[in-house]
Amino acid sequence: MAEKEVLNEEEKEPQAKMIPVFIMGQKYEVPEGSTILNAIEYAGYQLKKGVGCREGFCGACATVYRLPGDYKLRGGLACQTVVQPGMYLTQIPFTPAQKAIYDIDEVKPDISTFQKFYPEVFRCLGCNACTKVCPQELKVMDYIQAIMRGDIELAADLSFDCIMCGLCTMRCPAEMAQYNIALLARRLYGKYMMPKPEFVYKRIEEIEQGKYEKEFEEIMSLSKEELEKRYTERDINFDIT
């Protein structure tokens, strides 16, 4: 199994059924069950854009496609979406989008920040096109509406799983960059609105005042054998949080 050569990630069983797909206008036969990304590579492309983590975390491989006989334009991540017969697709490796420049120490965690940096948020038409296209199945329109009401906490929560692929922005008739707007909401929430972890400040102070220097000196002076013994006999305690 793992020992075998895997230079081609999507090495299929030889009898895998082949299906036709149209990659950026050109027809190729690819193995059934491939992801769009694997299908593009199988067809002979070595990607230099529109590819990233390949596991659905980075948002680099946004792709739009249609299926035969269906008017609907669909979106997905190339690394997470399985090809279907007759699918015709194109990648969107880059989304032209507004990104405001701000000093996070100088902004206020309220609606005025969005009025200033992203006034287009208030142009939302409520069409829900963003939510429909989101490959993470996030309630994009709902978090935008939350921002319009000044509910930063809800916006931060609803948008948390955003991978910033840009598909919402490409579909938005109000022409806003939802993913950048949501990032500002989360940064405001994380910095200003979540309760502060008091003990962390105390621990940093202890370290800066040299509280652990003596212990470090002692442990760093141990021989390998002594250190091994110390390690093996160390107390494992997961009870306290």
């Binding site: 199994m1 793992a2 020992e3 050569e5 895997v6 230079l7 990630e9 069983e13 069950g33 694997n38 590579e41 199988y42 067809a43 002979g44 070595q46 990607l47 230099k48 854009k49 590819v51 990233g52 983590c53 596991e55 659905g56 975390f57 980075c58 997470q80 990104k99 420049i101 701000y102 996070i104 948390f160 799983d161 990032l183 989360r186 940064r187 929430y189 994380g190 910095k191 979540m194 309760p195 972890p197 008091e198 003990f199 962390v200 621990r203 940093i204 652990y212 212990e215 470090f216 390998k224 250190l227 091994e228 390690y231 093996t232 160390r234 107390d235 305690n237 997961f238 306290i240 949080t241």
Partner: protein
């Protein structure tokens, strides 16, 4: 027979066994699993590692014949990568008129590179170029799910963290680096929070902590299971908030370092991947933050790593004379996905086990303490499968179960949706509900434990060259613990920025830029009798269908690839 959605019928009998043994296992977990299933002694660890860990197989290593580590044994694939020709010939590029002349050049746009750029700026560098192969944030940093270690509980301390790190690393770590890593962790937690990172907290604000493999305390900070993504997108945003100081060059990997006439590093040559244009950057300090080598598919393993993880920085630094260390060990993450085929090799976060998920064999039996250090846990999985107690998929892949439903039995319904949304979504896409059925797992290539040797100031043995994050060596010894890579790229990425900025003030470079080290390298290859067509850095892996490539103009070469062959001879 009971059916299990998402899984083929051939796997149902084993799934039924897992379900049957679950109530008993949940009972044991409630009473404290550690009371029934002891972690291994150092001798037991050594035994399973030497017999089953891929690093210990006879063909895992080979001797390197050129460069600073000449005569040492390194991971075989790394030796092949290093014993390669440069991508350019010195006479090909005009170095007399650099496109950029800056204080600090940062190569690599992941977490470490972003921290380096931000802190170089804070430390007073006026001009910084951040060059990256794909987009900023397209990196392994974005993908870490489980968390970041920091001793932020009263009954924990940086010294206890230190002991866990050094024991997990088989006592081979550089102690001074470990001390820095453990001591600066709480500061990093605070720094990121002040940038707006949404750490999981309780209602009083106390940071939530979870156990991880090889830790002796709850020390894992998290942001749901998008921890890396949350940190990375905030750091990326912060880099982009300073266009006056930080020039971001995306799709522009470094293909060779530059030196002055005395051999001190003085910048790099970048190459735009779309057009092939060279960009010459002269810099007073150069920082390498290019990450690791997962996409080399060492020993044929699948990988959890980002598409760009091709060890570019390792190649550049080695060729210019920087020493490597601990490049004989490779981290295999115990829980790579095995089924369905589409997610093969993908990372299943260690947080699943941190929350109580249990590894069980085809008969539903617990066979190893779930939170051993990664190398030990991975070797135990391989052993279980070698014993014939693994589960086989329809395409012949083997794995063991990671029983996730236990989590909700222990912590109540809704826990997985709250704590593991990325995992839940990943498997849901293929019709598997991990709240109800387990995941099939097998070790997958995950992390470069060693790298370019650094000291506490992230300096290498070559003047003006700094390294931070996965590309560096010495911090983790022979094995990294969970949650310490996120910590590493933050701590040492930041330090690299600070010390690079300080070094830039000294202006330690000569006027003239050279590629004399490339000439020297080519000579050395020749003297060692190495005849090869390989060139490096490879920049991208190549997953094109080999059959189709036979119809292409160029030969298939996994180390060179087609798209980039236009720029070689």
């Amino acid at each position: 027979m009971k059916s299990f959605p998402g899984y083929p019928e051939s796997m149902w009998p084993s799934l039924e066994m897992v379900e049957k043994t679950r109530p008993k296992r949940v009972e044991l977990a409630k009473q404290g699993l550690i009371n029934f299933l002891k972690p291994m002694s150092l001798e037991e660890r050594e035994d399973v590692l030497s017999k089953y860990h891929p690093d210990y197989q006879p063909d895992a290593e080979k001797e390197i014949h050129v460069g600073p580590n000449k005569g040492e044994k390194l991971t075989a694939k790394v030796v092949e990568l290093l014993e390669s020709h440069a991508r350019i010939k010195p006479e090909e590029v005009d170095l007399s008129n650099p496109d950029f002349d800056v204080d600090v050049l940062v190569i690599g746009g992941g977490g470490a590179g972003s921290q380096a750029a931000i802190w170089a700026m804070k430390e007073g560098a006026d001009s910084i170029v951040l060059a990256t192969k794909l987009r900023i944030g397209d990196a392994n940093s974005m993908m870490s799910q489980g968390g970041m270690q920091a001793a932020v509980n009263p009954h924990d301390s940086p010294v206890i963290h230190y002991l866990d790190i050094i024991g997990g690393g088989h006592f081979a770590n550089k102690p001074e680096l470990v001390k820095v890593l453990a001591s600066e962790a709480p500061f990093i937690a605070k720094f990121l929070m002040e940038l707006g990172v949404m750490w999981d907290r309780d209602e009083t604000g106390h940071l939530q902590t979870k156990p991880g493999g090889g830790t002796s305390r709850r020390r894992m900070l998290s942001a749901r299971d998008y921890t890396g993504a949350e940190i990375m997108r905030v750091l990326r945003d912060e880099v982009k908030n300073h266009p006056d100081k930080i020039t971001l060059l995306e799709y522009s990997p470094a293909i060779e370092l530059l030196t002055d006439e005395e051999g001190r590093v003085a910048g790099a040559i970048l190459m735009q991947t779309e057009t092939g244009e060279f960009i010459v950057v002269r810099a007073k300090s150069t920082v390498i933050t290019t990450g690791g080598f997962g996409r080399l598919h060492i020993k044929g393993f699948p990988t959890t790593n980002h598409y760009g993880a091709t060890a570019d920085g390792l190649v550049l630094a080695y060729r210019v004379g920087a020493r490597l260390r601990d490049m004989d060990t490779v981290q295999f993450h115990p829980t790579g996905a095995v089924f369905p085929e589409q997610v093969w090799g993908f990372l299943i976060t260690e947080k699943v086990r941190g929350l109580g998920g249990q590894p069980v064999n085809k008969n539903g039996e617990l066979f190893v303490y779930p939170l051993e250090p990664r190398d030990v846990e991975a070797a135990s999985f391989i052993r279980e499968c070698a014993k014939g107690l693994g589960v086989t998929t329809p395409t012949g892949k083997v794995g063991v179960w990671l029983d996730s439903p236990v989590i909700e039995e222990l912590s109540g319904p809704g826990t997985i949706e709250k704590q593991l949304p990325a995992m839940l979504r990943q498997f849901h896409r293929f019709g598997i509900d991990i709240r109800k059925t387990p995941m099939l797992v097998y070790p997958t290539l995950h992390y470069q434990n060693g790298g370019i040797e650094i000291n506490e100031r992230t300096e290498t043995n070559v003047p003006n060259l700094f390294v931070g994050g996965e590309a560096s060596g010495g911090v983790h010894g022979k094995n990294r613990l969970m949650g310490n890579s996120v910590l590493d790229y933050n701590v040492f990425g930041r330090r690299a920025g600070i010390f690079a900025a300080r070094n830039a003030k000294k202006n330690n470079i000569g006027k003239k830029l050279t590629l004399q080290h490339v000439e020297k390298w080519e000579k050395e290859l020749k003297e060692a009798g190495i005849e090869t067509k390989r060139i490096s850095p490879i920049l991208f892996p190549d997953y094109r269908n080999k059959e189709i490539l036979k119809k292409h103009r160029n030969e298939f070469d996994p180390f060179i690839g087609f798209a980039l062959t236009g720029w070689q001879e």
